[in-house]
């Protein structure tokens, strides 16, 4: 806080002596927080450690033998999990704060090594048979249980990513578009299914009050996947693109209403933007039919005009949510 500002306010008679004093003491006792710096270091450390161990093992496979490697990974993983179990606060369906700063990262390291452990077992011994599904289901189960049991949003995101991988699509944020081939039917339908499942999970978390703060993560992954699958459907299917558009409208209305209930600017924004892309695709498809240079002019004018319209809409919505919140 800038003490000068408060002195000025005090001189104007807007601030009592006591308030000014408390501002001054608060400012004098202010501590310099290293929270984010240390968190970054810890996270980098965990990443380096799990990555480095992975490579180390891979390179020395001939000299130390598979059992030893498995043992090492297993010990680290077990160590992390036993630390977490000893430290954790009692389980509750509400938000549980982590007991100390190290806890979150120990859990993360434990989960990462566990996934390596299972992957290694499967690769080396095909322990789970040739039904590859099982090798992904086990991490999925362990990750989801840990996410709920220890209340860790990062692990929950890992579980969601794993669920998607099990169903056959990549939902890693920056690879959502590049790693999936949205021209294949299977991916589109899987995306729709996964999106609906995640949105349902979000609804259940929020409604039944089961780890309510997890709802955002589910809703976030779910809404993006579902919208992208719908857009892919609109682009891919000549005959049924209007049906896909209708479906998208239903999804959009649902996400929009939820967003308003929660007062979430973020979901309102993505609904509006995805919806806009959807409408634009329909308009473009209709314009392409006209097969005429005028179509291009109309298209450009449409884009300019509609973007202005959406801006006005967003500004209105911004106002509306603000009032809805107060």
């Amino acid at each position: 806080m800038n003490v000068k500002v408060f002195e000025k306010l005090h001189a104007e008679g807007l601030l009592s002596d006591a308030s000014l004093e408390s501002v001054k003491t608060a400012e004098a006792n202010r501590l310099f927080s290293l929270h984010w710096e240390i968190k970054t270091l810890l996270y980098l450390g965990v990443l380096l450690l799990s990555g480095g161990l992975g490579i180390l093992i891979y390179k020395n496979i001939d000299t130390i033998g598979h059992q030893v490697i498995l043992l090492i990974i297993g010990v680290i993983c077990a160590g992390c999990f036993s630390y977490c179990i000893r430290q954790k606060a009692p389980f509750s369906w509400q938000k549980v704060n982590s007991p100390n700063a190290f806890f979150d990262y120990a859990l993360l390291l434990g989960c990462l090594t566990f996934v390596t452990f299972i992957g290694y077992l499967q690769f080396q011994y095909t322990a789970f048979g040739t039904a590859y599904g099982l090798a992904t289901v086990i991490p999925l189960v362990v990750l989801s249980v840990s996410a709920y049991y220890f209340d860790h949003l990062g692990v929950l995101s890992m579980a969601v990513t794993n669920l998607a991988a099990w169903m056959g699509i990549a939902v890693t944020p920056f690879q959502l578009l590049s790693a999936n081939d949205f021209s294949s039917d299977r991916i589109i339908y899987t995306g729709v299914a996964l999106g609906i499942i995640l949105l349902l999970l979000a609804l259940i978390s929020a409604k039944k009050n089961l780890k309510k703060h997890f709802a955002f993560t589910y809703q976030n992954f779910g809404a993006h996947i579902l919208f992208i699958a719908c857009i892919a459907g609109m682009c891919m299917y000549e005959a049924t693109y209007l049906l896909w558009f209708l479906f998208m409208a239903v999804v959009g209305a649902y996400v929009y209403l939820q967003a308003f209930k929660e007062g979430s600017f973020y979901f309102v924004l993505i609904t509006v933007l995805y919806g806009y892309v959807g409408v634009s695709i329909v308009v473009t498809r209709l314009l392409i039919r006209s097969n005429d240079i005028d179509g291009i002019y109309t298209g450009l004018l449409y884009m300019i005009g509609s973007a202005i319209g959406v801006i006005v809409l967003l500004i209105k919505l911004n106002k509306k949510i603000k009032h809805a919140r107060v």
């Binding site: 408060f6 104007e12 601030l15 927080s33 290293l34 992904t136 995101s157 944020p173 450009l300």
Partner: protein
């Protein structure tokens, strides 16, 4: 000079300070309401998330307007010069709209104004440079970028403009010094260092001055960038590789540059100096820049000398980082010397959007992939929304 009313900017600061005091319970709600009423802020600033949407949409409008105008005047343009003139026109139009919006609609960091400013600056820089000498030499590039972004910074106090302006200034110095010929390769690193240090010193002293209070964020950006360039100007990797390409030294592998010892010491010492000063002065800018540059030391050394294999380095580094952080957290429990591990109480957008969990998801790849029946992973398109249907 500033496009915004100075009184409103002051009131905005007062309001933000009062909000902080309210959060810390130094003042009560009636006092806050009274302060808010006595210092009204008439800016229009939407929620940060909505702002991103407004930014994207405005950028879409500018792009399509440019496209439409090009299409309409296609016959008149004929040459590249004609197109450049059109870009000047659109850039000026963006600027005009921006001024009107700020005056009439009181936009302030609303997304629309940022997009208009960036596109105006971008269009003007490209087209003016082209119109000036026809082939866009690096010197005129840097000069016009510097001049236009500097003017934009002064008028709109925009952080990005300030940063670009500083980098363009360095670029200008670099391109001018290269003309010196063979002397250049010894002079340039030191010239850039001196320039960065000077800008840093000036920036930090202006930050404390009342007259520059509205430019505080611009000056912060410039200080961070100048600390980075101060380091990079003497970083061994940067100096060696850059002089190798720019001055055609034809260094063999393992061969080093004149004055290598100096640059090696510089490479390893400067980040530690930043860290030390950052901790001494409790200066977040120095501290965080120092932390980032620690990584630069590691990468520079590893590039030339393989001290140990990568995986051993990773494991050791990971161990050092985790135990170090663990020790720091324990040490900070009693708040020694005014430091703490307690989270700062300012609510941040990153928190609300759960950015941390997304980063974890980004760096994590599920262990065993389900083999798919179709083997067409990896080559996907973005959905292919058509030429004008998607952006």
């Amino acid at each position: 000079m500033l496009a915004y009313s100075s009184l409103s900017l002051d009131n905005l600061e007062i309001k933000e300070e009062a909000e902080k005091a309210l959060r810390k319970e130094c003042i009560d709600v009636p006092a806050y309401k009274a302060i808010e009423a006595a210092h009204p802020v008439n800016f229009y600033t939407p929620n940060p998330v909505i702002k991103i949407g407004l930014f994207i949409l405005t950028a879409v409008i500018v792009c399509f307007s440019l496209g439409l105008l090009t299409l309409i005047s296609f016959d008149m343009l004929r040459s590249e010069k004609g197109f450049a003139s059109l870009c000047v026109f659109v850039g000026l139009a963006c600027y005009g709209v921006l001024e009107i919006f700020i005056r009439e609609k009181k936009l302030f960091r609303a997304g629309v104004d940022d997009a208009l400013l960036w596109s105006a600056a971008g269009l003007l820089v490209c087209s003016v440079t082209y119109l000036y000498d026809g082939y866009s030499s690096p010197i005129s590039w840097c000069f016009f970028t510097f001049a236009i972004t500097l003017l934009a910074t002064l008028r709109f106090a925009d952080m990005v403009m300030a940063g670009v302006s500083f980098l363009a200034l360095l670029g200008l110095a670099f391109t001018l010094l290269i003309k010196l010929g063979p002397v250049a390769k010894t002079v340039i690193p030191f010239a850039i260092m001196v320039l960065s240090l000077a800008v840093y010193a000036i920036g930090r002293s202006w930050m404390k001055q009342y007259a520059f209070r509205h430019y505080n964020w611009c000056l912060t950006v410039v200080s961070v960038l100048s600390l980075l360039t101060l380091y990079l100007a003497g970083n061994y990797y940067v100096v060696r590789e850059l002089s190798n390409t720019m001055f055609d030294l034809q260094l063999e592998e393992g061969q080093s540059i004149p004055g290598a010892l100096f640059f090696w010491i510089y490479t390893t010492v400067i980040p530690l100096v930043y860290l030390y000063l950052g901790i001494r002065k409790k200066d977040a800018i120095l501290l965080r820049t120092g932390m980032i540059l620690l990584a630069a030391i590691v990468f520079t050394i590893r590039y030339y000398h393989s001290v140990m294999p990568l995986e051993t380095a990773m494991v050791l580094g990971g161990l050092v980082l985790t135990t170090g952080a663990w020790a720091l957290i324990r040490y900070l429990k009693t708040h020694p010397h005014g430091f703490t591990y307690v989270e700062p109480d300012e609510p941040s957008l990153a928190d609300k959007l759960k950015v941390e969990s997304l980063i974890i998801a980004q760096t994590y790849t599920p262990g065993a992939h389900t083999p798919s029946n179709t083997t067409d992973f990896g080559g996907g398109t973005g959905g292919g929304g058509g030429a004008s249907g998607d952006y």
